[in-house]
């Protein structure tokens, strides 16, 4: 397995939040293969294999993207729209993981096509449970599409 093609992309600008999330994931022993992007621009470079991530391969996308909404440079909403409007990246599961429970964020995210929306619980124990639930589901229960299925130019027509 190529070490540059991680299972989880965590997009989080707050180091404390990132640490708590990583700790929760590590504690559940879901995967050791996590990449943390510190802002929306870095996340897009990573996902679309460009800039400092140019050597990455589209054929091995992350199995899961955990996306915060309030991000420097490029917002989580913009990142989500970019992922879900490109046929090559559309099938990557995105879980919005945010402090906000505002209706307009919910509506905006689901309109853009998020796969899930989770408000980070304040209680660490509850957070731990939540991470275990969605991590288990997306990394172990859910079956991703065959490798490279959406990389053809006309693959956009397919669902």
């Amino acid at each position: 397995m190529n070490s540059r093609n991680e299972d989880i992309l965590l997009v989080e600008d707050d180091p404390a939040d990132a640490e708590l999330t990583l700790m929760a994931i590590g504690k559940e022993r879901l995967t050791a293969s996590i990449h943390v992007a510190r802002d929306g621009a870095e996340a897009l470079d990573f996902i679309f294999c460009r800039g400092s991530y140019a050597e990455r391969k589209f054929e091995r996308p992350p199995k899961l993207i955990l996306l915060d909404l309030k991000l420097p440079k490029v917002s989580g909403h913009q990142v989500l729209r970019a992922i879900k409007s490109d046929p090559r990246t559309r099938s990557i599961p995105v879980v919005v993981l945010t402090s906000s429970d505002q209706d307009r964020d919910l509506v905006e995210c689901y309109r853009s096509g998020t796969n899930s929306y989770i408000q980070k619980p304040v209680d660490l124990q509850k957070f731990q449970e939540t991470v275990r639930n969605f991590g288990t589901y997306w990394l172990r229960v859910n079956q991703p599409p065959p490798m490279g299925a959406f990389l053809e130019p006309d693959s956009g027509a397919k669902p």
């Binding site: 309030k70 402090s99 429970d101 304040v122 660490l124």
Partner: protein, 518 residues
């Protein structure tokens, strides 16, 4: 008009009458004149007849005289003269006969007279002829004179004729006189009548003129009076018009002012709306920011203190553990405050959606929501019959969640805790109540019950944020209802919510300050 017509007709009648009389008089005069003319003709005729008679008489005498003269003188001129006179006499007789042709009596006399005269004339002629021839005539003078002497008969005849003719002339003259007199009388009467009628006509006309003048006078007076009145009314009308103009001007000005005010008002409303929109945007940005940014540090506080406890708990002294616990509970409380404030803000922004809702369903959902708080508790729920109401389901569920949560919290020490939910009608409003047998509150501080951050219990007695009832208050207010509470310390509490029984209530209406009723 009618009178004038009548008058004209009368005038016409009089005129026609006068003309008829004059025509009649003229006709009579004409006839009389023509009669007079014929009478004059007749008179002339009679004179002529008389003249011829006398000529005939003297002509014979002249012939006799010429004969005697010749016999004596033998003047050669005399026979010629004799012959000439003889012819004249014959002519005279012819003329007389012609003249008397129209008078049978005279005619008869002439017829009788003519042969007698002619016989004498023949004798005279013969005598003259003899004289001229120088024949001696018998000396018988009687023979000589006899034929020349006019007989008495002839003399009588002539006299009769003359007399008759003169009588005739006299008669005709009398007739002419009578005629003239009659004509004069007729003319006089006609003149008198005409004059009379003309007088009458003049009188009539004069009367008419007077009448008309009077009427005209009356009319003029009336016109003058009308004129004065009209002038007065015109002046009055002028004043009225001026008033009207003034009013119109005033109204136009007022309208202008109203327009100006409206424009100002519109501008101010727009300005104010824009300001309010700005404020709303700021508030929204604020609560969005709170939602995002305030929670994260709390989460970190809780998270890391817990990790510290879990990882290094056994190595920490008991005091340190206690402080960690304090940090965590503070973070939790702060988190609850943030949650409740966000909820209150959300209620404020929320546009109420009114639809008929079975209250019972909302109550059940709210109970399910607070189930975690009821764990290991002995709570007896007594939910009565609940109607359908026109309310926003999401907001009203929140009302029940808050009220039930409070009831559960404040009955913590009761075994069993009794929570009663019911509804009754009052003044066209549906009044819903939630009663508990919990700690209750001091009614003296009831006015603080529904204010934000206002609490009637110490945090170490009953934890809370002091926002829940403010949220309830806000929601009920948005439905056009009101909320109040009754309680005594340690006697339980009862919260009342009134909402319009129908959807007729006005939402967002500012009601009187809500306080507790004891």
């Amino acid at each position: 008009m009618n009178r004038a017509l009548k008058f004209r007709r009368k005038l016409w009648g009089v005129g026609t009458f006068v003309i008829a009389i004059l025509a009649f008089a003229f006709f009579l005069a004409l006839r009389s004149a023509s009669q007079a003319e014929s009478l004059f003709d007749w008179s002339a005729h009679a004179e002529e007849v008389l003249d011829k008679i006398s000529q005939a008489r003297f002509g014979r005498s002249r012939l006799m005289n010429q004969l005697w003269a010749y016999r004596v003188t033998h003047n050669p001129e005399l026979p010629a003269r004799f012959r000439e006179d003889m012819d004249n006499l014959h002519h005279n007789l012819d003329a007389l006969r012609a003249l008397t042709a129209d008078n049978p009596k005279q005619r008869r006399i002439v017829e009788e007279l003519t042969p007698l005269i002619v016989e004498q004339l023949v004798l005279l002629q013969a005598a003259m002829d003899n004289a001229v021839a120088g024949r001696t005539l018998p000396a018988d003078s009687s023979t000589l004179s006899l034929p020349f002497q006019p007989s008495d008969h002839v003399r009588d005849l002539f006299n009769t004729m003359e007399r008759d003719e003169r009588t005739l002339v006299a008669q005709r003259s009398a007739a002419v006189r009578v005629n003239v007199e009659r004509t004069q009388a007729v003319l006089f009467i006609a003149g008198a009548l005409t004059a009379l009628i003309l007088f009458a006509a003049v009188y009539l006309v004069q009367r008419e003129i007077l009448l008309r003048a009077e009427v005209e006078n009356g009319l003029r007076r009336a016109q003058e009076m009308l004129g004065i009145k009209f002038e007065g009314q015109r002046t009055e009308l002028g004043h009225v018009l001026e008033d009207l103009h003034a009013q119109i001007r005033a109204r136009a000005q007022a309208e202008q002012e109203v327009k100006q005010l409206n424009a100002d008002l519109g501008r101010r409303v727009r300005q104010r709306t824009a300001e309010l929109e700005d404020m709303n945007r700021e508030l929204e940005a604020f609560s969005y920011s709170v939602s995002h940014d305030l929670r994260a540090p709390l989460r970190h506080l809780d998270g890391f203190s817990r990790i510290l406890q879990q990882t290094y708990g056994q190595q920490l002294p008991e005091g340190a553990q206690h402080y960690l616990e304090r940090i965590r509970s503070a973070a939790k409380h702060m988190s609850e405050l943030v949650e409740d404030l966000l909820q209150l803000a959300r209620v404020g922004r929320h546009t109420t959606r009114r639809e008929s809702q079975p209250l019972r369903a909302l109550v059940d959902e709210a109970r399910k929501e607070i189930e975690p708080e009821c764990v290991e508790r002995d709570i007896r729920w007594e939910v009565g019959k609940l109607p359908d109401l026109d309310v926003d389901p999401g907001l009203f569920r929140l009302v029940f969640t808050n009220l039930f949560s409070n009831a559960v919290k404040f009955t913590r020490d009761r075994k069993p805790a009794i929570i009663e939910v019911g509804c009754f009608d009052g003044n066209g409003m549906s009044v819903i109540f939630v009663r508990d047998n919990g700690a209750g509150f001091d009614p003296h501080h009831a006015d603080k019950l529904f204010g934000v951050f206002q609490r009637l219990h110490r945090q170490d007695e009953f934890e809370g944020t002091g926002i829940g009832l403010a949220t309830v208050h806000r929601i009920v207010q948005k439905h056009g209802g009101r909320v109040w509470a009754e309680s005594e310390l340690n006697q339980g509490a009862c919260f009342y919510i009134s909402v319009p029984a129908s959807s007729a209530g006005t939402p967002d209406e500012q009601k009187e300050p809500i306080g507790a009723v004891v």
